[in-house]
């Protein structure tokens, strides 16, 4: 872009900040060390605004805005952590925990799980909603990786990284509503997928124990989604 990017000034949680016009509220906040919880967002992938954890309040309207996809505007007054927002965030996390079968103590990602960490940081002490206990399979057909639907939160990071970065588009979502599930190719065992390059990017970006490397079982292995920012920089794309 030859034209100099316009700069906007706005206020987040009482702090005056400036941001480029093409930046989102989330980017502006994080640049200024204001933490907004996220789950479906990942630096380096497109944003879908699906998890609703990053909703913020904007003065002058009752509507809540997903900070990951809302661009900054001049004079915006944003609050990122009101009682109302915190209540909604806790409920969102509770809904996720109750939706499938999240049992941290027996999960490969115990201690290295973004959902678990968010539960802790948002002060979640117990799950008010009854667990729905859907019967979901585990796919261990791939020689290196495992897919456990019981721990999937449908953030679609795997779908996006596979389509946008690896370019294989092995993953997508089938069905809809509470019956939605991530799939490889024609909903076939992962190990039989013709399009999968076994690159492992999906595993690295998965925030929970839904996708894991078989060799990591029992090691509490942390995942390393930072590779995305690096890849994008090397490709000359957005940082």
């Amino acid at each position: 872009m030859t034209q100099a990017m316009e700069v906007k000034t706005l206020r987040i949680d009482g702090v005056d900040v400036s941001a480029r016009a093409d930046q989102t509220i989330l980017e502006a906040a994080r640049e200024n060390n204001i933490a907004i919880p996220t789950l479906c967002h990942l630096d380096g992938l497109s944003d879908v605004g699906a998890c609703r954890l990053c909703l913020v309040e904007v003065a002058g309207t009752n509507r809540l805005f997903p900070s990951c996809v809302t661009r900054v505007e001049e004079g915006m007054q944003i609050t990122t952590s009101t009682d109302r927002l915190q209540k909604y965030r806790r409920m969102t996390l509770e809904l996720l925990f109750a939706e499938r079968n999240h049992v941290c103590s027996v999960c490969v990602s115990n201690g290295a799980c973004e959902l678990q960490a968010l539960g802790q940081s948002q002060g979640l002490t117990h799950i008010e909603f009854p667990y729905r206990f859907p019967q979901l399979p585990v796919d261990a057909s791939h020689e290196r990786f495992t897919l456990d639907h019981n721990r999937c939160i449908l953030c679609t990071r795997c779908v996006r990284v596979c389509g946008e970065i690896e370019g294989a588009h092995t993953w997508d979502v089938m069905g809809r509503g509470e019956k939605a599930r991530v799939i490889t190719d024609l909903d076939q065992p992962w190990g039989t997928s013709e399009s999968c390059t076994s690159c492992g990017k999906c595993v690295e970006v998965c925030p929970t124990g839904a996708l894991f490397d078989k060799s990591d079982v029992g090691t509490r292995a942390r995942k390393h989604p930072e590779f995305l920012t690096y890849l994008n920089e090397m490709r000359g794309g957005q940082s």
Binding site: G49, R52, M91, A98, R176
Partner: protein
């Protein structure tokens, strides 16, 4: 290329034919009457007329509105309407051409069902043959298009629509003129016009009826819109459940192309526009603008966060105008007669008329069109004829799964966007279902929540997981397995799901619960505490478990 003079000529020919003193026997061939075999009836009438040497024209026409009395047959001139006509009644209908009609066929047009209505959108419904463009032209069709293209600038068309006060008839009520203006001003040489005919609300069939009865009106409205905003391509997104509407639209598009109302050099000007039909595949969420766009692009119909709005970046990221069927159907009369004429009807904030599908436990069911501002009581008790024998009114449901249930004490509410919102419902697309005391209101809420749960696209968490939890709670209440805490959770979820969901489906999914809680909380409490369903609809499974 057709000229205005030729248009006049077509209209004149149709009128002369009609004026030759020949009777016309009009048989409704819209889906409702067709399901009652009105096509067979039409055949029988034509055959009997021929064999007995009676000179008359037997035509298929669109919906006459009073679907509960179908198959409907009208005889012109004379404006006599026959109800529940069977093929064996053919002779009796034909006899009426000579003598006054038989007594069992009283003239329904004089009943409140018809007299209390005012038709703009439905002005041709039940009068013209939807499969014959000449008949639409004879009623003044495509005049508005000529007028707009030849005598108005695009900006003037936008201004005329804005001055009419027309608001989106799909349910949102967004000012149509404002929407058109935004798309017209959006940068870009490629723009699209989309007609949303994905009529998803259960209990709503306004759009189906308009498309089946008067398809050219929608095409004309879309073409005028395209001229106003600068679009050259249009799509009509129709539900797969409406095969007859698709068939009539396809035919109408072919006929319109033939006469140069679609294609290049429309009406002899340089304006180009064409329309393609896209058939939905059974997803309620595709009624949401961004999901509909995704579906036309051949993808899963999941909504996208707005902004950007389709007016700036819609189909294939181009500026896109989306209006629903009824909105477009209002456009030709507005352009033909003027925005001022239209805005003289209705209330200060809701102008014009609204089409409703009146169904449920009410005597007269069918399609009606009333000026904005009439009361719900007039609709249910005058036009609808009130409750069937022995039934007691409980509520009227408007707005489908995004709406609410309005109780007896609010029946004097006027039909306009704001008033319906105040009483906890919405205008919606026009479904109006009358509920009597044999229906349990908790179960009605459960029904709609089941709908929203299984129609949720699954993208955002509040809608996907929240509707499932709400459904579970409602299920427990109707089974007598719920406690006080469940009700608190339900209320919390209503607030959270409506505030945080990504699209309109999730944001409005709690409405049926909120409105039944507002007016029928006692029923919820009786289910929870006394394990009793006053309507007798719910089976309380676990009275013993609850006691222990």
């Amino acid at each position: 290329m057709i000229s205005v003079e030729e248009l006049d000529q077509i209209a004149e020919t149709v009128r002369t034919e009609r004026a030759q003193g020949r009777h016309q026997i009009n048989v409704c061939v819209a889906a409702g009457c067709l399901a009652l075999h009105s096509d067979t009836l039409k055949g029988a009438l034509a055959e009997r007329a021929q064999s007995s040497g009676i000179s008359c024209q037997v035509r298929g026409v669109g919906c006459m509105g009073l679907c509960s009395a179908g198959p409907l047959v009208s005889v012109e001139p004379g404006a006599i309407l026959f109800q529940k006509v069977k093929p064996e009644d053919a002779d009796r209908v034909l006899d009426s051409l000579k003598a006054p009609p038989a007594k069992q066929h009283t003239d329904l047009r004089q009943t409140p069902f018809f007299k209390r209505q005012f038709n703009v959108v439905l002005e041709n419904s039940g009068k013209i043959d939807p499969e014959n463009i000449d008949e639409y032209i004879a009623e003044g069709g495509y005049r508005a298009l000529f007028h707009a293209l030849i005598e108005m600038t695009p900006a003037e068309v936008v201004q005329e629509v804005a001055s009419s006060g027309l608001r989106g008839r799909g349910g949102g009520g967004y000012p149509t003129g404002l929407k058109w203006g935004t798309v017209a001003k959006a940068h870009g040489t490629i723009k699209y016009v989309i007609c949303n005919a994905d009529e998803g609300d259960p209990g709503a069939f306004m759009d189906r009826s308009v498309l089946e009865s008067d398809p050219h009106r929608v095409l004309e409205g879309m073409t005028i819109a395209a001229y106003a905003v600068g679009a050259s391509k249009g799509y009509i997104y129709v539900r797969a459940e409406y095969p007859l509407a698709v068939k009539r639209l396809e035919r109408a598009i072919r006929e319109a192309r033939r006469l140069g109302f679609l294609g290049s050099k429309i009406c002899g000007t340089t304006f180009e526009f064409d329309i393609e039909i896209r058939i939905g595949a059974g997803a309620f969420v595709c009624g949401e603008e961004t999901a509909l766009i995704a579906s036309i692009e051949g993808m899963r119909g999941t909504p996208q966060p707005r902004p950007p709005y389709p007016a700036q970046s819609g189909l294939w990221e181009k500026p896109t105008l989306i209006n629903n069927v009824e909105t477009f159907a209002n456009v030709p009369p507005i352009v033909r007669r003027s925005g001022a004429w239209y805005s003289a009807m209705g209330t200060p904030k809701s102008k014009g008329t609204k089409v409703f599908a009146l169904t449920g436990q009410v005597k007269n069911t069918g399609l009606i069109e009333v000026p904005m501002g009439v009361t719900l009581r007039e609709i249910v008790f005058d036009i609808g004829g009130g409750m069937p024998e022995g039934r007691k009114f409980k509520a009227v449901q408007t707005g489908g799964p995004s709406g609410g249930c309005i109780p007896e004490q609010c029946l004097d509410t006027r039909v306009d966007y704001e008033s319906l919102k105040e009483v906890g419902s919405i205008m919606g697309s026009g479904g109006m279902i009358v509920i009597d005391d044999t229906s349990c209101m908790v179960n009605v809420a459960r029904y709609f929540m089941e709908f929203c749960m299984s129609e949720s696209c699954g993208k955002c968490i509040p809608c996907r997981a929240g509707t499932a939890q709400m459904y579970d709670i409602l299920q427990r209440i109707t089974r007598g397995q719920a406690g006080e805490r469940d009700l608190e959770l339900l209320i919390d979820l209503c607030d959270m799901v409506s505030a945080t969901s990504l699209c309109g489906l999730g944001q409005t999914a709690p409405n049926p619960v909120i409105s039944t809680l507002r007016y029928f909380k006692q029923e919820y409490l009786e289910h929870i505490h006394a394990k009793r369903c006053v309507a007798g609809e719910c089976r309380m499974a676990a009275t013993q478990a609850a006691r222990s």
